[in-house]
Subunit: 86 residues, 2 copies
């Protein structure tokens, strides 16, 4: 069976306060980047899923993982891509 890698992007939902993003925005402005108007800070995860019977099975497993552990559905959105390979 082929192995799969999931690249997962977790971001704060629109409207949710994002203190880390605000802090980075302040840092950029204090460095002189005055044209920057907003920063949203999220997480990027690479998960080596191991073997799966198909692309669909690997994607379905990734969705489960996001729901159970990797993202907080109350305040975060997630999206991912699953590719074959280690």
């Amino acid at each position: 069976m082929p192995s799969y890698l999931a690249r997962i992007y977790v971001t704060p939902k629109p409207g949710v306060v994002d203190p880390q993003g605000l802090s980075i925005l302040g840092g950029l402005r204090s460095l002189g980047y005055h044209s920057v108007s907003a920063v949203r800070a999220g997480r990027y995860l690479e998960v080596q899923l191991g073997e799966a019977s198909s692309q669909e099975a690997a994607e379905s497993r990734t969705t489960e993982m996001c729901r159970q552990l990797l993202a907080n559905p109350v305040i975060e959105d997630y999206r991912f891509e699953v590719v074959e390979g280690d």
Copy 2:
């Protein structure tokens, strides 16, 4: 002038210990995902760059920001894509 958005991915360099990734790996395994072999945890940032004279100018500004504030070059790699739009 058009406005640009940068999507920035910051990841631990290969070989650098990644405690957050290890912690997530442990969590996934304890939930029964025994086939997962590795997790790398990084950051995902969306930066509204504001106006720039060209795509190249926006990309050059993003590289500067990454070097100055957004990534720690000793232990992290970064990559980004810059797209037109708010």
